[in-house]
Amino acid sequence: MATLNLVQAINLALQQEMQKDDRVIVLGEDVGPNGGVFRVTEGLHAQFGDDRVIDTPLAESGIIGTAIGMAMNDLRPVPEIQFEGFLGPAYDQIVNHAARSRSRSRGAITVPLTIRVPVGGGIHAPELHSDSPEAIYAHSPGIKVVMPTTPYDAKGLLISAIRDPDPVIFFEPKRVYRSFREEVPEDEYTIPIGEAKIVSEGDDLTVVTWGASLFQCIEALDNAPDDVSIELIDLRTIDPFDMDMIAESVEKTGRCVVVHEAAMTCGLGAEISSRVQERCFLHLEAPVQRVTGFDTLMPYYKLENEYLVNAKRVGQAIEEALAY
């Protein structure tokens, strides 16, 4: 089994799905010979040629709109948007068309589209290149939102996303792209959209997170006192998220800390916190804590680490929840 980083795992999934189904095509800004801004599509153009790996103009509304038309007419396009901030110009197409065509056509005309988007901060880039807008799209019915963190999960989830009959936004935490490797099977496998993962089991407190913050949470767990047993959940899918797994865990532990990089107000942490109190109220020993980005714009790199979630802040929230 090969040891791959996130970029390589995603590349492998794309390559295998393209090989398997000639309806799968890749398009985006410089995704061709250049291999994309983060080199995720490297080698695909050489293997599959101009017909199936398509360099586009810098025109996100046009890219996504065209991809929607392709998907409506039976292709399985996988457009890449270079940075999550560039989803802005395509927002209309995603939310007003991709997400709604199934409903408008009583299920006859669907949009099997997977939009790949690098997401989040931590690479010394400014705002628009470091944002975490997952909750915006989770709030839009008709589209699914996925954010795998590890190479293994990314491969399995991307294959699921490409084969999914509905549109999926596939967020790739760019901070993790080359910072972590693990064994990834060569053979194809899928991970169902909507299933979270227990990274480590515990009895005293549940930490729920996703994206690059997973690694800060692991660090916080490592720093926690030995007599505290913490359950760590990687959500993997943002919408529909695995509330059953969270509820089951919190009913066991009685305490919950939600950690995400995105700003706090109306972030997914608010939704999870609300659902936990709805479903686990009598099991709770402490208020649900949130550790998130601040309600400011993502700062430029000098202040980047002040904004991003770190193990210390996660550790404090864990301490407070335990001491309540």
Partner: protein, 365 residues
């Protein structure tokens, strides 16, 4: 075609439309009159509050939908803006399904979920009306791209051409420029038909679009073949549009059409129409496309007379009356419809009635 010699009269030059049979033209006449009658009854139903939301009437522009759709194959994809009832009918949608859709009934083409602006009909290769101005234009490029890809890369089926309709208001949208660039860059067989009725809602074209006298320059700027068509005479539409379709299909490349037309009603049902005079509307009504074709069929082809025209109109009235009746009697959607067809498979938390409820596991509830 045997009729070509007899159909053209006097000193006029032979036209492509001379080759169209009387039957075909009678079918077009019927189709245009069906749209006109359908829209009249739609307005009534809207005024009786049987149709919800917003409603955009196509009367006056019939020669565009019927003439252009009549120039392509049934499996050529079509995508529309929101003034879409006429195209849906021209494409073969049952008037009952179209009317029931506007009434919000289950038997509508989209289970009454889309309403007036979202006519979808997959068996008729109709990929929907779309409510965001200009946003359907990249979709048209994508539909045509997929069609070309199937033919060229997957060796499946023949050459197709997609029709993407937009109004003159949509030409100012950024998405349209992106779509034109992509269509030209990749040589995508999509024909952008600007149904230029002279108004972007209530703003005249010279007040909403720069260089509006020369819209063709916009297509030509991208190296796209661009044609201006007088859209009030359906024979002329065919004469000019059919060769364009053949060329786009054959060479697998896009085209841009400035299609001059006129709408008799307001932008939507709630338009006070302060931006134009009644005289202006009447001027265009004198050049009415249905009257035009009828005159041709009566006087130059002897294919219809007053009696048979009256009979045709009566039959259409009856058909549309039945459609309204059908829509009246059709089924109101069940509350379960709130969460069908949102995703292929039901997701948690879609339904107020299905098994998932907020707090369902809370022992206090």
């Amino acid at each position: 075609m045997p009729q070509s010699a007899t159909a053209s009269t006097g000193n006029s030059k032979p036209r492509l439309s001379d080759e169209l049979s009387n039957d075909r033209l009678l079918e077009w006449l019927r189709s245009m009159q069906l749209i006109r009658e359908f829209e009249t009854r739609t307005m009534q139903a809207y005024q009786q509050a049987k149709i919800g939301g917003f409603c955009h009437i196509y009367s006056g522009q019939e020669a565009c939908a019927v003439g252009t759709i009549g120039s392509v194959n049934h499996d050529d994809p079509v995508v529309l803006a929101y003034r879409d009832h006429g195209h849906a009918l021209a494409r073969g949608m049952d008037p009952k399904a179209c009317m029931a859709e506007m009434f919000g009934k289950l038997e509508g083409c989209a289970k009454g979920k889309g309403g007036s602006m979202h006519m979808f009909d997959k068996p008729n290769w109709l990929f929907g009306g779309h409510g965001i101005v200009g946003a359907q234009t990249p979709l048209g490029a994508g539909l045509a791209f997929a069609a070309r890809y199937e033919w060229e890369v997957m060796n499946k089926g023949g050459k197709k051409v997609a029709l993407c309709y937009l109004g003159d208001g949509a030409i100012d949208q950024g998405a349209f420029f992106e779509a034109l660039n992509l269509a030209a860059l990749y040589s995508i067989p999509v024909i952008y038909i600007i149904e230029n009725n002279g108004y972007s809602m209530g703003t005249a074209i010279h007040r909403h679009s720069a260089n509006s006298e020369n819209l063709l320059a916009r297509g030509e700027a991208f190296g796209i073949k661009s044609v201006k068509i007088d859209g009030l005479d359906i024979l002329n539409v065919y004469d000019q549009f059919k060769p364009l379709v053949d060329e786009c299909r054959d060479l697998q490349r896009p085209a841009f059409v400035d299609f001059k037309t006129y709408r008799y009603q307001g932008h939507s049902m709630s338009d006070p129409q302060k931006y134009r005079t009644k005289e202006e509307v009447d001027q265009f009504k004198e050049k009415d496309s249905i009257a035009n074709l009828l005159g041709h069929l009566m006087n130059e082809r002897d294919a219809i007379n007053e009696d048979s025209w009256k009979a045709m109109r009566k039959e259409i009235q009856e058909e549309v009356r039945e459609a309204v009746q059908f829509a009246e009697n059709a089924t109101d959607p069940d509350i379960e419809e709130l969460y069908t067809d949102v995703y292929a498979n039901p997701q948690p938390n879609l339904s107020p009635t299905a098994e998932y409820k907020h707090g369902a596991k809370n022992p206090l509830l």
